[in-house]
């Protein structure tokens, strides 16, 4: 199927994008990597009158690693972020999640910010930015604001962005020394959206004690969900195998996932507990403390 007619705009500056957005508002859609939007246009699930292609805007594709953290620009490709050596070194969670997003051919076009802005409930990156406590920088002709990841996701495909706002960049905070993270998911095939997935970022000290932990899961509700109760149990512990089973259990009973064609609610509950247990075991084993 072919998209319905639209008017295509190719602005070259952020100001031009913002002007177009303020003129057309919810008649318009931003086109970033197009890897979610173009399928929706092809199926006419979406039929915006105006398409604002941001790929030609100078200076939006930056990926900067500074002492203040990482800034990922709106057109930085998922593949660019995944292949950046600094990301692999300092934010293993980000790389480990990205390699599970679709396939390289999709990640060559798809953007990091676009996936967050799209806010699919089963997508990996929304739970990654939530677990990391990232900030979403949104700009409109009215000004700029910073939206913490925890306030950004409102429903499946719905975010705190107004129709005239552009995500110009996403900022990942600097991580404490020794912080490590991982993303573990269960999907029907490699590259599929997660049936259940968890992003976990932890500091485990030399003695093997968990100093801090944040976990967020995908696929269990309309928005990515922080697993606070389970994290509280883990903090201060050494993540023994017994405790991991207890955490698995807590996760299963605290989440309330949906039933759909891909999996039953009960199956999702069980596998979410499992991915959390696997993620924590991996972080424990990588921390160098020897439990087995």
């Amino acid at each position: 199927m072919k998209p319905r007619y639209f008017e295509y705009h190719q602005p070259t500056s952020i100001d031009d994008v913002l002007e177009l957005l303020s003129e057309y508002g919810d008649e318009a859609k931003i086109l970033a990597g197009g890897q979610s939007l173009i399928p929706m246009l092809n199926f006419r699930i979406a039929s915006p009158a105006h398409l604002i292609d941001i790929n030609g805007v100078a200076g939006l594709d930056q990926l900067n690693l500074t002492p203040e953290g990482v800034q990922i620009g709106a057109t930085a490709r998922q593949r660019t972020v995944e292949n950046a050596p600094e990301i692999a070194l300092s934010y293993p969670l980000v790389r480990r999640a990205l390699v599970q997003v679709a396939h390289p051919q999709i990640r060559n076009r798809g953007t990091f910010c676009g996936s967050v802005a799209h806010a699919d409930a089963s997508a990996e990156l929304p739970s990654v930015v939530l677990a990391l406590g990232a900030q979403i920088i949104a700009r409109s002709s009215r000004g700029e604001r910073t939206i913490p990841a925890k306030d950004f996701f409102e429903f499946h495909l719905v975010t705190a962005l107004s129709a005239d706002e552009l995500v110009v960049e996403i900022q990942l905070p600097p991580l404490a020394a020794g912080s490590n993270g991982t993303y573990v998911e269960i999907a029907r095939r490699a590259g599929d959206f997660a049936l259940a997935g968890v992003a976990a970022q932890a500091v485990i000290d030399e003695g093997g004690t968990v100093q801090s932990l944040r976990m967020a899961c995908s696929g269990v509700g309309p928005v990515p969900q922080l697993l606070e109760e389970a994290a509280q149990l883990a903090i201060g512990s050494d993540l023994s195998d017994e405790l991991l089973l207890e955490i698995d259990n807590i996760v299963r009973t605290t989440i309330d996932p949906p039933d759909d064609v891909h999996a039953s609610a009960n199956y999702r509950r069980v596998v979410t507990g499992t991915v959390v247990r696997r993620a924590l075991k991996q972080l424990r084993d990588e921390s160098g403390s020897n439990h087995d």
Binding site: M1, K2, P3, R4, Y5, F6, E7, Y8, Q10, L31, G34, Q35, I38, P39, L41, N42, F43, S47, A49, L51, D53, N55, R79, A102, H103, P104, Q105, I106, N108, R109, R189, A190, G191
Partner: protein, 167 residues
Amino acid sequence: MTEQEQITTDLHPLHLTVNGKDVDSVLDSRISLADFLRHELRLTGTHLGCEQGSCGACTVIVDGVAVRSCLMFAVQLNGSTVETVESLCVDGQLSRLQQAFHEEHALQCGFCTSGFLMSLTAHLREHQVTNDQEAREALSGNICRCTGYAGMVKALLAVGDGESTTQ
């Protein structure tokens, strides 16, 4: 009829390089790269299976990287360089990868083949493929309904030694 349905064209000029040749065109914005290649340039080696990014039949190489040509609009490619399956065979001579597909029975109906060839051509420029696991990973972004992939794994291992795949 709404205003949106009455208006049917939104023309944009386009200049790009396809398989080494300069192409100039004026195109409706909603034409995908795949349809542009097939209908305007008559490069029908690029196939369309799903038009939603899932199958990989439409894979081509744009500015050096493999992409889904059903998920880009042609007008987005102003100034770009596109390689399609038609570029692989030079002077009647199959590329090493194509030859290996032929020898290892890596295709049956052939519908998926051009997409696989383009994904793998891009992959082999950057990576070696030295074992079964690496081969299967390199194949995983495309779907084939016929072969069961075994022939493709063999073909990839036959050429995956890091040597150039274009003769």
